[in-house]
Symmetry: C2
Subunit: 153 residues, 2 copies
Amino acid sequence: MNNPLIQDLIDRYVNVSFQVHKKAESLIKAELGNDLTNDQHYVLSYIRKASGCTSTELADAFDVNKSAITAIISRMADRGLIERTRDVNDRRVVYLTLTGAGEELFRACQEKVHQLVESIITKFDETEITTFINTYEKLAQILDNKKKDELGE
Amino acid sequence: MNNPLIQDLIDRYVNVSFQVHKKAESLIKAELGNDLTNDQHYVLSYIRKASGCTSTELADAFDVNKSAITAIISRMADRGLIERTRDVNDRRVVYLTLTGAGEELFRACQEKVHQLVESIITKFDETEITTFINTYEKLAQILDNKKKDELGE
DNA sequence: TGATATTAGTTTAATCATTGAACTATTCAC
DNA sequence: GTGAATAGTTCAATGATTAAACTAATATCA
């Protein structure tokens, strides 16, 4: 297609998503300091919500190789933030949970991240931000389907 | 603040931005294949628009240490994608430009990325996507100011 | 003018993230 | 009960990142 309007939207989207992504990561990283990398923060966040999840599930959610997850989990397990427990019935499976220390560190980091996000989104009026997040969530859904389509083919 | 509505928006935003970011990176990565990493694609894209820019400028735009840029540029210069030219008047400064090969590779990759983005944004109606991008751009601006504020303090 | 600051960029050592391939151990299927 | 599939790990290689020390060039200003 050669609709110039669409081309312009694509350009703007590619540009802005790249910029926001870089800057947001950087601001979050500043909040996390030396306690957690951004990836580790994501992983803690995921396990906290889905306590007892598996590496395979994480690899799916994060769209990475299972060995990448093994590496991240190992680093955090070494620091006593995450615990691995083998399933008694299917001994191939390993369940992931936060330790007390993991929970505590996550809460402290999440507090900072929420304050950061709050300081940002309160610069929008409520309708604007709600509309934005709605579309954003729709986009997440579309990307998810896109992924599944590709695997299905 | 304890406004539960805001808290909900923050939760939704943190979640969705994380998801979209992961999935989008992954889809773009699939398009780029073994030709370029996502970061390298960003760098080519930047230099193409700002031909003759410096490492310092890139480090600013990408919010990373200058040595990170040196490393990325070096890898791509080794592959003949980017050229470094010293300023004649201020011999500390190095200007970055794409080589012919860099230009060509970028165009091929950009073509694929644009097709991907087009297949996604055409699932929204035009008003929706325009509104979304407008807010997104406003967000980019706010993040940028936030960054400058922090440096200023 | 000349000593000192600053600036642009690189190098180095260390760490984290990622992949693909080979591997272990377990369970499933027939 | 043998062969295929599954969950997870290990290993080797590569890329990205940082902080600190460094080189080389330019700016400052006494």
